[in-house]
């Protein structure tokens, strides 16, 4: 990590925490910290991504502001995380997207929607767009399957490549003499931590949002959002198989597998987004960095838009509005795919990698002193 103000503040705080360790029961950061005595700037990139921003250690800290030590780990770490996203981004010129991420996300979303709408209106006669389509192939009358699959597929592949490069860069930059070979045991442990969101748990109690009381609202909302996202992804995958390999052309009936998965997924995503937005609104601002808020809200807005337009397509698919809603939905999805490596979505990748590193190191070492 570069020697920025945020990284130095985090390092100063962590050196104090390592002498204190009162918060060791809250999350993975403290046990990871306790394996070391001297910290590098790169360690801050690692620990910051290990932090799940539960705010537990802020409210519990006897050295939080106005104490002269001024410890505020969730805030320091949020800023370091943001800087790490930019630093590990690939290709580097696009790292600037993290500077004003809210604006970038909004702009990309607007562009993507315009692009799809333009493409649709230029390639298809308005008459086709605004006519209700019924029966097999209705959607593809508006946007052909080939166009849809190739644009989405190419974007997604590029984004996955960019995310992978980022993950590898993160791993190389933060590996230390403590890190050893990745074992199955560590992978299993990290996977469990990710899937259960163990550390949005503060030792089973939850996060501190509005005040020092514990709440599982954020964990539950995140589960709903991530689960919903997975269901929608599954819906799309199943539909692709139906359509392309089994020759059952969309749209499908209300009780078909893709529609059920997509409906549940969409509702779940909306619930999750709403829950996370609510938590954001009630959270005590003291441990929150304003620098990250734009990107946070942008990703939530994007996911919410994806879910709402997706359900919109479903609800309006037999009406003349389907064409436009469909184009909107595809625009949002395109923006989402484009932005995967250049927005808050990357937190999942780096946090996953950090959890894996923590699992590897915890198996190999004991706390110092």
């Amino acid at each position: 990590m570069r020697e920025t103000e945020a990284v130095l503040a985090a390092k100063h705080a962590i050196e104090i925490c390592n002498a204190c360790r009162y918060c060791e029961g809250y999350c993975a950061v403290f046990p990871a910290m306790e394996l070391q005595r001297d910290f590098t700037l790169a360690d801050m990139g690692y620990l910051a991504n290990l932090c799940h921003n539960c705010n537990g250690c802020y409210h519990a800290c006897q050295f939080a502001p106005p104490h002269e030590y001024g410890i505020n780990l969730p805030k320091h770490f949020a800023e370091v995380r943001l800087e790490s996203y930019a630093q590990f981004a690939w290709p580097q010129p696009l790292a600037r997207a993290f500077e004003r991420n809210g604006v970038v996300v909004a702009a990309v979303m607007a562009l993507a929607i315009t692009f799809v709408l333009l493409a649709v209106t230029l390639l298809v006669t308005p008459d086709v767009v605004f006519r209700p389509h019924l029966g097999p192939g209705a959607f593809y009358a508006v946007v052909s399957w080939g166009a849809m699959a190739s644009v989405a597929g190419a974007t997604l592949l590029f984004s996955i490549a960019a995310l992978s490069v980022g993950a590898i860069r993160f791993w190389c930059a933060t590996r230390s003499e403590l890190t050893g070979p990745v074992t199955w045991r560590a992978v299993r442990r990290a996977a469990t931590d990710i899937v259960t969101l163990r550390y949005l748990g503060g030792a089973g109690e939850g996060c501190n949002d509005a005040d020092a009381s514990f709440s599982l609202a954020r964990r539950h909302a995140h589960h709903a959002l991530a689960g919903g996202f997975a269901l929608c992804f599954a819906a799309t995958s199943v539909a692709t198989v139906f359509d392309h390999f089994l020759g059952w052309v969309a749209p499908y009936g209300w009780f078909s597998l893709p529609v059920v998965l997509g409906t549940l997924g969409g509702i779940s995503m909306i619930t999750g987004c709403a829950g996370l937005m609510r938590v954001k609104l009630i959270t005590d601002p003291a441990p929150v960095s304003r620098r990250v808020l734009g990107g946070d809200w942008a990703l939530l807005a994007l996911l919410l838009a994806a879910a709402v337009t997706g359900l919109g397509v479903l609800a309006l698919r037999e009406t003349s509005a389907m064409g436009v809603v469909m184009a909107l939905h595809l625009g949002v999805i395109l923006a989402l795919f484009v932005l995967l490596p250049y927005g808050k979505f990357v937190h999942g990748v780096y946090r996953g990698a950090a959890l894996l590193k923590a699992a590897v190191e915890r198996d190999r070492h004991r706390p110092v002193a």
Binding site: I16, Y22, C23, G25, A60, Q62, H67, A369
Partner: protein
């Protein structure tokens, strides 16, 4: 009946409301009393000198509490029975305790953890504690400030009136009967009336004038590990009105902390655990005590006093690269140099004198098998004072040093109480409607020394007793 009286500033007047119970202080002992009294149906007001952000006194710096148990619990391993607990207490106090009160406290400690859990305090699972104390001590998840936060949330939920920035100047006694408290808040003085009062305002360790009275100018070099609000105002007010004192006013618990720590509130992170693996010299570069006398947990509490007795109340530990990783990290970096002379220059000691001290020590070190886990056989021979364990030559650069000053944890002088937490007057009778809990009465049980986690046990046990007693009295 719930009485809420949150409006600030009854300038210089007597408040209209008469609370059932007024609790003075805002740390663990105060909150335990307030919650207990409120749950017994009383209207309760808590008067805390500190602002909200710094509430909770020394309790915000704590990490664990010692509790008796006869079988493993969710937060404690094995068993820790009354007699063993009592033996531990007897050993550290050298007998300066009150057996009946102490045993009552120990037995009551069995009941505190479920009560704490019931009021939102969370503990670490029993096996993860940094210190190997999970048999005797339960560690608070997030430490003492998290505990204090949980109690304040519970208090707010229960409808207890909480006033921050409210310094109690006196508890106004009238022949052993407490009538009101005088509170200074926002520059104005108010009298608050209540039927009963609980004094839980901690010790006087932050009162530099009182420390100077016993220690002279040396006191100016003492650091206070905890809250600056421990001014002893309430304690002095009571002692001046015929309440029986207990404990020696000149005594305090002190450890040798990093000299660069803030004057107040440096808390746990300024502690230095390097002494058993170092030599410790004063500002004349002379050693003054056996650094390896016993394992650190049994010796750390004498070093505050030892350093307090040195010229300028300062000392430096010196060790070499071999020892750097043997103790807990601390906040401030060690001074470091490739030669002893270079180190002496950095820390402002006479380099020839430090060289001489190190040479004498090195020459006296006898070979042995170094082992940090036991009282090993690495000792000096023919050196005064000796180093009787973990003595290794200081010969592997880089060399390191930490500066140490006395860091005061708490004072022993307090008010005497009985087994119902009632404050005892000089004539031996309990005051009618005045109770005390926590540091302000801890001297009744802990006249000397310290047992890790016992401060919070005393505060919780007596806080609950005081709350029960106050409620009983207020309702009659």
């Amino acid at each position: 009946m719930i009485v809420r009286d949150d409006e600030p500033g009854h300038n210089g007047v007597m408040s209209e409301i008469v609370y059932d119970v007024a609790v003075i202080g805002g740390g663990n002992a105060a909150l335990c009393a307030a919650i207990t009294a409120r749950e017994a149906g009383c209207s309760v007001i808590v008067l805390e000198h500190a602002p909200k952000a710094m509430r909770g006194g020394n309790s915000r710096h704590t990490r664990n509490l010692r509790a008796m148990h006869d079988a493993p619990t969710s937060v404690l391993t094995e068993a820790y029975l009354e007699d063993e607990y009592w033996d531990d207490l007897l050993r550290v106090t050298g007998g300066q305790t009150d057996e009946a009160l102490a045993r009552m406290t120990i037995r009551e400690s069995q009941r505190v953890i479920p009560w704490m859990l019931g009021h939102g305090v969370r503990f670490q699972p029993s096996l993860t504690g940094t210190l190997n104390l999970s048999r005797t001590n339960a560690f608070f998840l997030g430490g003492g400030k998290a505990l204090v936060n949980a109690y304040y949330l519970a208090a707010a939920r229960l409808g207890i009136a909480i006033r921050y920035d409210s310094e109690v100047l006196s508890i106004d006694l009238d022949d052993g009967f407490a009538r009101s408290v005088t509170v200074r808040s926002g520059g104005a003085d108010t009298m608050i009336r209540a039927r009963t009062f609980v004094a839980s305002a901690g010790g006087f360790q932050a009162n530099m004038d009182m420390l100077r009275a016993s220690w002279g100018e040396a006191a100016d070099n003492f650091l206070i590990r905890g809250t600056p609000y421990a001014q002893g105002t309430v304690l002095n007010s009571l002692l001046a009105q015929g309440v029986e004192a207990i404990g020696d006013a000149s005594q305090f618990h002190a450890v040798a902390i990093d000299a660069r720590a803030p004057k107040f509130d440096g808390g746990i992170v300024t502690r230095l655990d390097c002494i058993p693996f170092s030599i410790v010299v004063n500002r004349n570069a002379q050693r003054f005590y056996d650094e390896g006398e016993d394992v650190w947990p049994k010796r750390y509490a004498i070093w505050g006093r030892l350093v307090a007795q040195q010229p300028g109340q300062i000392a430096w530990s010196v060790f070499d690269a071999k020892c750097r990783a043997l103790f807990m990290p601390s906040v401030y970096p060690a001074y470091r140099a490739d030669t002893i002379e270079g180190l002496a220059t950095q820390i402002g000691l006479d380099s020839a004198a430090l060289r001489q001290t190190v040479d004498n020590y090195n020459a006296a070190v006898r070979p042995g098998s170094f082992n940090t886990q036991v009282l090993d056989d690495c000792a000096t021979e023919g050196l005064a004072p000796p180093k009787t364990h973990w003595a290794q030559r200081i010969d592997t650069p880089p060399y390191y040093s930490y500066p140490h000053r006395p860091g005061i944890t708490f004072t022993y002088l307090g008010v005497k109480v009985d087994a119902q937490a009632r404050v005892i007057m000089q004539d031996g009778r309990p005051a009618a409607n005045l109770f005390a809990s926590g540091e302000i009465m801890a001297g009744s049980i802990l006249g000397r020394g310290y047992l890790a986690g016992f401060g919070m046990t005393i505060g919780t046990v007596f806080g609950r007793l005081a709350g029960q007693g106050a409620a009983r009295h207020a309702r009659n």
